[in-house]
């Protein structure tokens, strides 16, 4: 059992292992001794719960470690922002086609000016939506890190 415990401990991040591995192994040994004295079934049930708890703890410790990586925290909003921008591409291409067709029917300088104002306003709205989306992602990230502060 000691070997299985040590193998599961390898799932934890190195810093965590350096801090707690010896203590955790000592607690596990003591608890094993106690549960063995309570009978075979109690011992097996304890081992199942213990190993499940170790795996869950390792996943939590690892996921926390990944999220604390600054590169990951910057990359996730960036990738999400890019995906949102890609979603805006088809309407932009359609608008460009519309502008090309409209250009051939333009009669005056006034019509051209109106179209330019419309295009600029659309770009500002799209950019605003993208910025709001990324800011919202950052606030979600903060909430994940400090759930009780928000």
């Amino acid at each position: 059992m000691k070997r299985s415990f040590a193998a599961l401990m390898k799932l934890y991040p190195p810093g965590y292992r350096a801090l707690f591995a010896d203590e955790m192994a000592a607690v596990f040994e003591e608890a094993c001794r106690d549960h063995r004295a309570q009978g075979q079934l109690a011992y097996i049930l304890y081992l199942l719960a213990e190993f499940a708890g170790l795996i869950k703890g390792a996943v939590l410790a690892r996921s926390l470690g990944v999220w604390q990586n600054r590169a990951v925290r910057v990359t996730i909003p960036f990738v999400a922002g890019t995906l949102v921008s890609v979603a805006f591409l088809p309407p932009l291409l359609a608008a460009r086609r519309f502008l090309t067709v409209a250009n051939s029917h333009l009669n005056s300088q006034d019509d051209t000016l109106k179209l330019l104002v419309l295009a600029t306003a659309s770009i500002i709205v799209i950019a605003g939506c993208s910025v709001a989306f990324v800011l919202n992602l950052r606030s979600i990230a903060r909430r994940i890190e400090h759930p009780s502060k928000t």
């Binding site: 203590e23 955790m24 192994a25 003591e30 213990e50 170790l54 759930p147």
Partner: protein
């Protein structure tokens, strides 16, 4: 370890703080005390216990101290002044909630 700070007071965290409020304890003593405090309802696994201790150390709510047995695998944990304040605040919150629950339950019985 400040980077893993998370100031949520979950049930395991509350039980650990309560256990350490009485006296400094090492890992296994904490597990046994928590089990006895909750009348056997809460049985923390080693992974859950040390995950919670890790967060509590990061929050400076507890600290590691040298116990009578100074071996590396028998380190004791003690409540800090900040941890004590958090525990008192949580106790006040629960007391208030219990009072509200009592009032409402009595009202529903009438």
């Amino acid at each position: 370890m400040r980077h893993v700070a998370d100031d949520k007071v979950t049930e395991p965290v509350l039980l650990i703080l309560l256990s350490l409020a009485e006296s400094p304890r090492h890992g296994y003593a904490l597990l046994k005390d928590i089990e006895s405090m909750s009348s056997g309802r809460v049985r923390l696994s080693t992974g859950t216990l040390y995950g919670a201790l890790h967060r509590l150390l990061a929050n400076d709510w507890i600290e590691r101290v040298e116990g009578a047995d100074t071996s590396r695998d028998k380190r004791c944990y003690r409540l800090t002044a900040q941890g004590h304040r958090v525990l008192v605040a949580e106790f006040d919150r629960l007391k208030e909630l219990t009072q509200i629950a009592g009032t409402r339950l009595r009202a529903s019985e009438v």
